[in-house]
Symmetry: C2
Subunit: 92 residues, 2 copies
């Protein structure tokens, strides 16, 4: 079961803090505002709690999806994948 986190946050400080939380939980950045990774359901709950605290009452939206292996196999990537500090690579 993968966990996908997508967020839409204007405030740089909070947006960066959300990214740091996702990294702390071992998720991989797949876009500037999207992280994906394997996470046991207990850890997913911890992540959701942490992200709720980071966003607090600020404007913005964070959505956490669970993606099973069958769904993941249907994922399609168009264009250049996000690689932090490593440049970029064309996937499709």
């Amino acid at each position: 079961m993968r966990t996908l986190v997508i967020y839409d946050i204007s405030d740089d400080r909070i947006r960066n803090a959300v990214a740091e939380v996702c990294k702390d939980f071992g998720l991989s950045r797949i876009q500037r505002s999207a992280f994906l990774g394997l996470l046991p359901s207990g850890k997913r709950k911890d992540l959701i709690e942490k992200l709720s605290r980071v966003l607090g009452e600020s404007a913005g939206n964070i959505q956490i999806f669970v993606i099973c292996n069958a769904d993941l196999s249907l994922r399609t990537i168009i264009g250049i994948e996000y690689y932090e500090e490593e440049g970029a690579d064309i996937v499709i």
Copy 2:
């Protein structure tokens, strides 16, 4: 089966064109750069083809996920949901 489209595109013109394609396919905007909606698999293929053409050789990344009902039931939304031309509403 829901289709989730998330994108990371710097060029305003192309980003807006991607949003228009998603709307044309009946998807709902859930974030500034994310759309979700019901789509038969044939239509999903058409969508992917159209989005590939819109992005072309330009910089950017579009990812299309399939989300089954079981996965969708585990979706968590934190903060204010995106409502086009309708203001915003607090969900969690």
